[in-house]
Symmetry: C2
Subunit: 264 residues, 2 copies
C-alpha cells in the first residue's frame, strides 16, 4: 500500500474534509486532488487540511483545455494551485477541437505551442506538467492528444522533470505499441493511474470506468512496463463511475483499496 494514492474523483461526492478524515482513518497517506473541489473549499484551506493530516498530494487534476479562450491564464493559475498544494505534478487534459473545426492536426500543434508557453512558469513553481493521452474516443470533445506517441513527442521538446506523460491504463490499454514504449520512457512517466475498461460504455462515455480488476485491462502488463521504465512513484486509482459515485465515500475508498490490492 506504500505507493497507493486515492484520486479524489473516484469518490466525487465525498466532501474534502470527510475525504481527508477517511483517508487518515484508513491509513492511506496519498491523495490526488481535483481543482474544482479544492477551489470550492479554498486553496489555502485545502493545502493546510491535507498538510495537517500528513497527506501527500500526488497530483492536481486537471488543467489543460487549450481550446478555451482563457487557457493561458487558467493554466498558470492551475500551476500556482499545484505549487500551493505541494504536489509535484499537474495533469493536463489537452482539450478537444475548437467549435466547428475539422483541423485536428492544427489543434495538436496548438497544444504543443501552449505547453511550451507554460513551461517556464511551471518550472519556476517546481511543477511537472503531465500530458495525459486520453482514449481516442475523446479526441473531438475532450483531448486531441490520443496516443502515447503524441504525448511523448511534445514532452520530449522539454527537459525531463518539466514536462512528462501520464500513464493511465484506461486510455492506453488498446494500443499495441504503447507498453513497449512505456517500458523505455524512463523519467518521462510523471504519474501512473489505474482504471479498468468495462462495457457497454454509457452515453457520453465519461462515467463508465471500472475499478482495477473489474474489466479487461491487463494491469500486470502495465505494472511491468512502468517498473521496467524505472518508475517507483505513486500509483493512483482514478475511476469515474456513476454507480460508484452513488455510494458513501468510506465504502468507495474500501472498494478502491481492495481492488488496488488485488491487482498489485
Amino acid at each position: 500500500m506504500s505507493r497507493f494514492s486515492f484520486n479524489q474523483i473516484t469518490a466525487k461526492h465525498w466532501g474534502l474534509e470527510d475525504l481527508v478524515k477517511g483517508l487518515v482513518a484508513a491509513d492511506v497517506d496519498k491523495v490526488a486532488l481535483w481543482r474544482e473541489p479544492v477551489q470550492e473549499y479554498g486553496l489555502e484551506r485545502s493545502a493546510a487540511l491535507v498538510r495537517d493530516a500528513g497527506l501527500e498530494v500526488t497530483t492536481l487534476c486537471r488543467s489543460g483545455f487549450f481550446q478555451a479562450p482563457d487557457w493561458f491564464d487558467d493554466n498558470r493559475r492551475a500551476i500556482d494551485e499545484a505549487a500551493a498544494l505541494g504536489t509535484p505534478v499537474l495533469v493536463l487534459v489537452s482539450g478537444g477541437l475548437p467549435p466547428g473545426s475539422r483541423d485536428i492536426a492544427g489543434a495538436r500543434r496548438h497544444v504543443a505551442d501552449a505547453i511550451a508557453q507554460l513551461v517556464p512558469h511551471a518550472a519556476a513553481g517546481g511543477v511537472t506538467l503531465a500530458i495525459e493521452p486520453l482514449h481516442p474516443m475523446y479526441a473531438a470533445d475532450r483531448c486531441v492528444i490520443s496516443t502515447w506517441d503524441q504525448a511523448m513527442a511534445i514532452a520530449q521538446q522539454h527537459p525531463v522533470g518539466q514536462v512528462g506523460v501520464t500513464v493511465d491504463t484506461y486510455h492506453l490499454w488498446w494500443d499495441d505499441t504503447a507498453l513497449d514504449k512505456i517500458s523505455r520512457a524512463g523519467s518521462r512517466i510523471a504519474i501512473y493511474q489505474l482504471a479498468d475498461w468495462v462495457t457497454p460504455l454509457p452515453a457520453g462515455v465519461l462515467t463508465g470506468r471500472g475499478l482495477p480488476g473489474d474489466g479487461c485491462v491487463d494491469m500486470a502488463a502495465f505494472h511491468a512496463a512502468v517498473a521496467q521504465a524505472g518508475y517507483t512513484g505513486p500509483i493512483e486509482v482514478e475511476v469515474m463511475n456513476e454507480e460508484l459515485w452513488q455510494r458513501p465515500g468510506p465504502e468507495v475508498l474500501a472498494a478502491t483499496v481492495a481492488s488496488y490490492q488485488a491487482v498489485t
Copy 2:
C-alpha cells in the same frame, strides 16, 4: 455520383425490395448489403433482385467475429454469400475479446490466424477479405483490430486482392499516422466508407454516427489520401444513427446523397 454506393445499414429499417426500388428511382446504381437482411430475404432471391435491377453490390457487410465458436463455418458461409451476390469484397469486423479475457495481443494473433485459414476459400470464390480497423473504443467488445497498422500487418501476409483493408473515416480520423499510410497503401484499399464523428456519443457507442459533413472529420483529407493511393473504386456512405433510422427510407437516401455530394 458515379462512385457513390449506398450502404444498406444507413437505412436499417428499409425493406430490401423497397430499398432496391428506391435506389433505382434515385438513379443510384451501387449498394452495399448486410448479411442479416439478405439472409432474411433469401440469398438467391436477393442476388436476383439486385441483378435484375442492375445494381452493383460493392461489399457484403459483415463477417469476422473470430471469437465466436463457429467462426470458421460462419465466415465460409459469408464468403459464399458474397460470391453469390457478385460482390468482390467481404468486410471483416474481427470481434472483441473472448469472455473474461485480458489477452488482447493473443486475440489479435488469433484474428491473423483465422484470416489465414479463410484465405483459400475466399480466393477460390473471387472474394477479397477486407479487414476493417474499428475505432479503439470497440477494442474490447467488437473488434480487436483497432488501427490501420494492425489491419495492414495482417493483410500484407497475403497477396493483394485476397486480403485488403477497409478505409472507414469514422474509425480512423483520430489517428495522426493513418492518412499518410493510406496514401501509400495502393491496392490494399479494398473499400472506402464515409461516416462522420459527432458527439456526444450515445450509450453503447454504436448508433451515433453522422452523415458526412455533419461532424468533425476532414473528409477532403481522406479523399486525397485514397486518391493518392490510386483507389478509384466505390465510395460507400455507411452511417449507423438511431435518429436517421426512424425516418422513411427514401428520405434517408436523399439525405445521404446530399451529404455525399456536399463532401465529394
